[in-house]
Symmetry: C2
């Protein structure tokens, strides 16, 4: 093929193909050759020119997909005249959650924890990062500082809620269940969060309902 004038298009093609395959078949279930085969005409040399390993492709693919979500959330929380408690509720409101779910729905990962074990590990790791250095714990601490939240164990509460929200409330790596069961989970999570001082807001149920709709519309 010689040389392309716009190599970033090639990179984008690679990452698009990679993301789709990694989601559908998992990390180990996807070979570099699988990816190459989707880049009509291109060869492995091109891929390894732009990325130095399969691992790097994997990370780059997901980072790229997540970037707009992360940015959106950052800007949402940047608003100054909101209490911590208000920001917390906002984090679990439809406008914050649904875009992320839409992304997941598009990615359409295999509903098999073993096949998706790499993704699961990412989500697991992410839950801790999210609560520790990420956005949840800071928001809670902000709430404690401004008096809008009363929580005795902010770090622990953040971790627990984050983990439950990511790996349980939306069971990405499990066979599809019913809307009622998802709503029951949301209700349950809200109760548990309230017990440690975190009010996730009344919108949580609404958010969950919308999540289910998005999910289903995507043909799960």
């Amino acid at each position: 093929m010689g040389r392309n004038k716009y190599p970033e298009e090639t990179v984008a093609k690679i990452l698009d193909a990679a993301l789709e395959l990694f989601c559908a078949q998992g990390y180990e279930g996807t070979s570099i050759q699988d990816i190459v085969d989707r880049l009509d005409g291109m060869t492995k040399g091109a891929v390894y020119h732009h990325f130095k390993s399969k691992e790097e492709i994997f990370n780059a693919a997901f980072d790229r997909a997540m970037a707009p979500i992360v940015e959106r959330r950052r800007s949402t929380l940047g608003i100054g005249n909101m209490t911590g408690a208000q920001k917390l509720k906002r984090l679990y409101a439809p406008e914050s959650v649904v875009p992320q779910i839409e992304l997941w729905a598009r990615m359409h990962p295999a509903a098999d924890p073993v096949k998706s074990s790499r993704l699961l590990a990412m989500q697991y790791q992410g839950s801790f990062d999210e609560s520790a250095d990420g956005y949840l714990l800071p928001v809670i601490e902000e709430g404690i500082a401004d008096g809008s939240i009363a929580c005795e164990c902010p770090r622990e509460a953040a971790e627990a809620v984050s983990l439950l929200a990511n790996l349980w409330l939306l069971p990405l790596f499990r066979p599809l269940e019913t809307k009622d069961r998802m709503l029951a989970r949301a209700q349950c999570l809200a109760q548990m969060a309230a017990a440690v001082g975190l009010d996730l807001g009344n919108e949580v149920l609404q958010t969950t309902a919308q999540i289910w709709d998005v999910w289903n519309r995507a043909g799960w």
Copy 2:
């Protein structure tokens, strides 16, 4: 080597070696050859005679390791003259939990969610099985039936508690943290469980402290 009169010894040797390697290096990080190399003199032919795939070895190794724990728990819960609430507390008492932790400590899995992603997936899957068809939900339902537990969402509560206990309270796949942080997590979990009607008992803190000791004694 010809033929062994007691092939089950060979199987045991294979599973022992496999378990150790899978824990230390993860599933993908362990090759069949790695396992074979630990079975002095034996070859791949032997391994593939007794097991039809790497996957099967992996499952067999962990099933074998878990078997005594599962049996122990089964017999503990079999006692008739206990209420559901009493059984629930017992599930989180040191005598029930510590043996399992000792097993995990011996297995000594890599504290890296990606390297251990397969194990993580197993634990994740296990949390749902445990709550659904396993022992936790039945105990809660027993408690509801005999009036010793008041829980509006038994299934959801079981899932949430199970997930938190398995993947958060004991963060197998995370770098070691302090005893205080583990205790704080236990306290937090107990509070959250109480909010949905599950009293995990006062022993939870004690259990957690013992877990940490076992963990540390194993040189984590």
